[in-house]
């Protein structure tokens, strides 16, 4: 859906999204990586299970919530990518052990 404007000084790291290895620019918001990685979504809703993608990118809409390094309901637009980060798209309601 989106593409990077790369710069020679960029530093790339590896993260996983739902267990799949993905390349990401160090320090970019996790939501930006989700918008480059099919199916371009972050979670499904708690009420109807509808898919949602990052929407506002400034921490206000909460549609980009996902499980980051084991912590659920993290706004991925507010979290910077670091090496080895594990991102899991959040499915429906939270469970006790995400």
């Amino acid at each position: 859906m989106f593409r990077l404007l790369t710069d020679p000084t960029d530093e790339f790291v590896r993260i996983t999204i739902d267990g799949v290895d993905v390349s990401a620019r160090k320090g970019e918001p996790v939501a930006a990586v989700l918008l480059r990685t099919a199916p371009f979504t972050a979670r499904t809703t708690t009420v109807t299970g509808a898919p949602r993608a990052p929407y506002c990118l400034m921490g206000a809409c909460f549609d980009c919530m996902a499980i980051v390094d084991g912590v659920a309901s993290q706004r991925t637009c507010m979290i910077a990518v670091c090496d080895g980060m594990r991102v899991v798209r959040q499915q429906g309601k939270r469970t006790q052990t995400p």
């Binding site: 404007l5 930006a32 918008l35 809703t45 506002c56």
Partner: protein, 462 residues
């Protein structure tokens, strides 16, 4: 725990200007901000961006780098990636930085938390593939990423024109702009024309964006209605032109924007008095001449007190700083009057354009009063119909509607639906917006885990 004279929440143009003016008088200032670097939304990542990137983004963005450098050198203590999730009287602010909870005590608090894009409920706006123009611009500035294919834009406002110009400069492609601002607005807006010329640079900037766009091959289509359709993601945009013809186009990405509104989350939670601005169609906190709210020693600077733009935001920050200095007996009444007179004159010039813009880009009625099928509360997936039905229960205001329908109870806590709920409640009851009011907001103001709340307990007393 830390103490300071003045705590400033937000390091955008307004927060930084407040801090710098206070530092001139050697006041002990802490600035907290949820981003990784100062600049706010308008100057997001300006400090880190390469020269080439900053130049393409424009002179206003480049100017941000200077402001940030001066702020960094001002001696204000700056805490990045730090959110205030609770603010108690006195003032005691509970903060969160990554997993760490802390408390900052301050004599005065300045909220410089800016604006949010106006919620734009329309059919299909929750589909993946629909995003805000502001969100896409944040991705450009903060993550250097642009839409893969030709992108559709629906809406109106200065940000739409700016983003189109910026995206084209980076080699992005606009499939089309569905302009939702009725042409007739222009005639009403032109009654503000004498004032516009008092801010000639902004007038020239806007006209340059518009004329570049006119010379480009970007299709501009005047529409009265837009809908997003698709199974689990955006596939088709359906729009109805102002002439009444309905069209469908294939699309994978639609960016929407209908202006920005003050972020009143914290001021509502703190019980500040607000009033309805019919010119800007939003609630604004009531402020005195030096930006103090109805609560003593609590200030709002920048767009959080009404939308005036980035340059005006800095001036309002300086005004608040003067107010704080006077209340701390750090300046004479005479000095304050002299300096504030200069600031007010500049502020008047900077905002001369505002009446024109507010009228030209007045959000269309469908966005303020969505039709029955449209989801209003994205989090709890509550439609306008459910909200209207709840509003019909005798005397229901926003908080009764919330209790009946769960609208506003989800993770975003009404940030995306609060304004629309109030507007529907107002329209159904026939009451004026000041008596309708807004959702009650309670802490935590930002998401926080139970473990983090537990860790805050030992910071409670005294």
């Amino acid at each position: 725990m830390t103490t300071c004279d003045v705590l400033i929440v937000g390091a955008g143009p307004a927060g930084m200007a407040t801090a710098m003016r206070l530092r001139k008088a050697q006041i002990d200032v802490i600035v907290v901000d949820d981003a990784r670097a100062p600049g706010g939304q308008v100057w997001r990542a300006a400090e880190q961006s390469a020269d080439g990137m900053a130049s393409v983004l424009g002179a206003d963005y480049r100017a941000g780098r200077e402001a940030i450098a001066r702020f960094r050198a001002s001696g204000a203590r700056y805490l990045a990636e730090t959110e205030v999730w609770r603010l108690d009287d006195g003032w005691r602010a509970f903060t969160k930085h990554r997993g760490t909870i802390d408390r900052i005590d301050a004599k005065s608090v300045v909220l410089a938390t800016g604006a949010l894009e106006r919620p734009v409920p329309f059919p299909g706006w929750t589909l993946p593939g629909v995003m805000t123009v502001g969100g896409a611009q944040t991705l450009l500035k903060g993550a250097r990423q642009i839409p893969q294919d030709g992108v559709w834009i629906a809406g109106a406002g200065p940000l739409v024109l700016l983003y189109i110009a910026q995206l084209r400069a980076f080699g992005g492609r606009i499939a089309g702009w569905l302009n939702t601002a009725p042409r007739s607005n222009l005639w009403t807006a032109l009654r503000h024309w004498p004032a516009m010329f008092r801010n000639a640079p902004d007038l020239a900037k806007g006209m340059a964006w518009r004329s570049q766009l006119a010379l480009s091959n970007v299709p501009i289509i005047d529409v009265r209605d837009v809908a997003a359709e698709g199974d689990g993601q955006l596939e088709t945009i359906r729009y109805t032109t102002t002439r009444g013809k309905t069209h469908r186009v294939d699309a994978s990405l639609l960016l929407v924007h209908e202006g920005v509104v003050p972020n009143i989350h914290a001021t509502v939670a703190l019980g500040c008095a607000h009033r309805w601005s019919s010119q800007q169609q939003c609630f604004v906190p009531q402020l005195d001449a030096f930006r103090m709210t109805s609560r003593d020693d609590l200030y709002v600077v920048g767009d959080g007190g009404g939308i005036l733009g980035a340059r005006a935001a800095g001036l309002t920050g300086e005004l608040a700083a003067l107010g704080i200095l006077a209340r701390m007996d750090r300046s004479s009444a005479k000095d304050r009057e002299r300096e504030s007179a200069v600031l007010r004159a500049r502020l008047e010039r900077e905002t001369a354009f505002r009446g024109f813009l507010d009228t030209l880009f007045l959000p269309r009625r469908a966005v303020l009063m969505p039709d029955d099928e449209t989801i209003v509360c994205r989090c709890e997936e509550v439609t306008a119909r459910s909200i209207r039905q709840a509003a019909h229960v005798r005397g229901s205001g926003p908080n009764q509607i919330k209790a009946f329908t769960r609208a506003g109870m989800g993770p975003c806590q009404g940030r995306q639906c609060g304004l629309v709920i109030s507007q529907i409640a107002g329209s159904e009851s026939g009451k004026d917006m000041d008596s309708v009011g807004y959702l009650n907001i309670r802490p935590p103001l930002k998401p926080i885990t139970v473990g983090e709340i537990a860790r805050a307990a030992k910071l409670e007393s005294p």
